[in-house]
């Protein structure tokens, strides 16, 4: 059995470790490229949202490379993501691919049974150690990336932080021991924390990133917006991280309450996806004294459309500039860059 799964930011490192440690062969899809996008767009429904198309492209490329087992998330709405797997499976079968698909639906017991059916018996100790390794890798990546988002604004040499992060990722990917993961994490944390040079722009500007999780986490689809902001000398902060999402999903943390309370003045209901998080976090960032907020979402995304229609009221009520980007397969680099530069200039003028 050759396992594959869709890309989502740098999480490929952790997911790969999980299945390798369990003793499976993993065939991760090649990094998302123009070709992935084109494949996805060609075979997806025209008005499906962008993550659907990229996922489908990932699957096709991985299946072409010999994978025969797709692992995918599920759910029960109201966001479209919960229905992705059902449609993608039908499309791939219609195209003649032969594979099996494991969809992670909510519900612990049904999952345990299904896992046994699909993957055969695996010892509990092995599962535990695999999960521990993957989890530590994910934590390390998220922790270091949090620093990367801040430190790009004050690097001495252009591209220095990006290079550091690339090295870090490679090292994490190569190692298979929890101790070493922790050591690498400590090492890079110290290097990054020591970067306390002057800000590129002369003044600190801080922007909060909110929106739909896939668009925020995956640099290919958001046209590396975080990198661009870093180049412009802006510190970026966000609450959307894979580990953070998982902790909340498993009820080990409860940011939801905080977010709901912050959002309640403007949006008084759960709306699926990350709609309420977008509103709640914008309010929280405003109250924390951020200079601006940027919302990212795929074109036609239902929860983010709700959020984006309410955001102007939040912006007015809390006094924080907000910029919204909806991405689809036609989004172009230059357009995004121009709008970003104008937005950052505006923030700067407001501050000085």
């Amino acid at each position: 059995m050759q396992i594959t799964f869709p890309h989502m930011g740098d999480m490929v490192v952790a997911v790969k470790a999980l299945f390798q440690e369990l003793g499976f062969t993993v065939v991760p899809p090649p990094p998302i490229s123009r070709k992935t996008l084109n494949l996805g767009v060609k075979y997806s429904p025209e008005f499906a949202c962008l993550p659907f198309k990229i996922n489908l492209g990932n699957f096709m490329e991985a299946l072409d490379r010999g994978a025969d087992m797709i692992i995918m998330g599920g759910g029960c709405g109201p966001c479209r993501f919960g229905y992705y797997a059902e449609v993608q499976e039908e499309i791939l079968r219609e195209m003649g691919y032969d594979f099996s698909m494991y969809v992670i639906e909510p519900g612990i017991f049904s999952n345990l049974r299904k896992i046994r059916e699909s993957f055969g018996p695996v010892s509990a100790r092995k599962v535990l150690s695999a999960v521990r390794l993957a989890w530590n890798k994910a934590l390390a990546i998220d922790e270091i990336y949090r620093l990367v988002l801040l430190k790009r604004a004050r690097e001495a040499k252009e591209g220095q932080v990006n290079k550091l992060y690339a090295d870090f990722l490679r090292k994490i990917d190569e190692t298979m021991s929890v101790d070493r993961v922790k050591r690498i994490k400590r090492e890079y944390r110290e290097i990054l924390e020591d970067m306390t040079g002057a800000y590129k722009r002369g003044i600190p500007l801080k922007v909060g990133l909110v929106g739909e999780i896939y668009l925020v986490l995956e640099p290919f689809v958001n046209l590396e917006i975080e990198k661009k902001l870093g180049e412009l000398g802006v510190e970026v902060e966000r609450d959307l991280y894979m580990t953070n999402w998982l902790l909340n999903f498993l009820h080990l943390r409860n940011d939801g309450k905080l977010i709901k309370r912050a959002a309640s003045k403007y949006l008084d209901s759960f709306v699926g996806g990350h709609g309420i998080d977008t509103i709640g976090n914008t309010v929280r960032y405003a109250r924390k004294g951020f200079d601006g907020v940027i919302q990212l979402g795929p074109f036609t995304c239902m929860p983010e459309i709700i959020a984006s229609s309410i955001l102007p009221a939040v912006s007015k009520g809390e006094g924080i500039p907000v910029l919204t980007f909806f991405f689809d397969e036609h989004s172009a680099d230059a357009g995004i860059r121009t709008r970003l530069e104008a937005f950052v200039d505006l923030l700067e003028r407001k501050k000085v």
Partner: protein, 344 residues
């Protein structure tokens, strides 16, 4: 006191119940006018660009009622049954209106979540009712009146009455007895004189027509697709003509049926019509930017293709032209006719 109900979205599913309920409580119900260009343009201007067509129209209807009423009825729909959701935009609707439209009257925005509680509809009714009446019996009476009206309305739809007609008949109940099947059958076959001209005589092809009721039954938005098909003397079967159990059973043919209530029904209707081989072709009407439609449509397309069913997909937005739609409908009907002749 006047309560305004926008003639859009859930109006097309629940208006008879709402009308009966508020009337019984002693309110004057004011309905916005039938969708027209002015309403659409206003809505397009007030709503965000990215939202789907039916919601833009809803904004327009709200604007047309804004200064004329004391209250505006904008329920927050969350779920219409176990394991079901509806499109999330309904969940944020009252908040979106408040953020985008200034000078709104007080919104009556009860949460409607049928996953919770034993008698969820009754609970909602009491919650709204308490605002307008102190008398519990009066509220209960209003609730029962609403429920009866709604059942009557559904019954009429099953029998083949169009939604608008069924609404009219429900509100003038008593004049035409329910179960006048001949009348209904006449409508179903699409002739304007209700009796006689049965479907098989003239062209007599049978078409399935699926799509959200708030799109198909808005004559302006859908460019009178239903009427046009009937004029071409096709027998048209819609989602509303099928009973909920039938829809649910058919939808379960999909391993994991859609979890959006209305799209699950659409899916069920399409699969049911495919299976029973009652139809010669399927017309699918979707709204530009509709999230659930974008995925469910694909599944229906794939299944249709497997059994060789001709499918016409029409995607509507504020720029759709009437001539374009008509041409495509005519071409589709011609194609099916030719196919039928060949088969004979």
């Amino acid at each position: 006191m006047k309560i305004g109900i926008p003639r859009a979205l859930m109006y097309h599913y629940y208006y008879p119940a709402w009308q009966a309920f508020f009337r019984e409580l002693g309110l004057t119900v004011l309905l916005s006018p039938v969708t027209n260009k002015g309403i659409l343009d206003q809505g397009v201007k007030a709503a965000v660009d990215d939202i789907c067509l039916p919601f833009k129209v809803y904004y327009g209807h709200v604007l047309s009622l804004r200064d004329k009423v004391d209250y505006l009825f904008v329920p927050r729909f969350i779920s219409l049954g176990k394991y079901n959701f509806i499109c999330p935009k309904f969940m944020g609707l009252p908040d979106m209106l408040r953020a985008n439209i200034e000078g709104l009257p007080e919104l009556i925005d009860p949460v409607i979540d049928l996953r919770r509680g034993i008698f969820p509809w009754r609970q909602v009714a009491y919650k709204i009712g308490r605002k307008f009446s102190k008398n519990i019996w009066e509220i209960e009476k209003a609730y029962r009146r609403a429920r009866d009206s709604y059942r009557h309305f559904l019954q009429l739809q099953r029998e083949g009455y169009e939604t608008e007609e069924a609404m009219l008949l429900t509100s003038r109940r008593g004049k035409i007895p329910v179960g006048d099947r001949e009348f209904a059958a006449g409508r179903e076959s699409g002739s304007d004189s209700h009796k006689g001209r049965a479907g098989d005589k003239a062209r007599g092809i049978k078409l399935g027509l699926v799509g959200h009721s708030y799109l198909l039954n808005d004559a302006y938005l859908s460019m009178r697709i239903v009427e046009r098909l009937r004029k071409m003397e096709a027998r048209v079967f819609t989602v509303e003509m099928l009973a909920e159990e039938v829809l649910e059973k058919a939808a379960r043919r999909q391993g994991k049926p859609a979890f959006w209530y209305f799209n699950r029904q659409i899916m069920g209707a399409a699969y049911h019509l495919f299976q029973e081989k009652e139809i010669d072709g399927l017309v699918q009407v979707t709204a530009f930017g509709c999230g659930p439609d974008s995925l469910v449509r694909e599944l229906i397309d794939i299944r249709g293709k497997r059994i060789g069913m001709p499918i016409l997909n029409i995607n509507l937005d504020e720029h759709s032209g009437e001539a374009g739609i008509l041409t495509r409908l005519e071409a589709f009907v011609d194609l099916i006719e030719r196919r039928r002749r060949k088969c004979r």
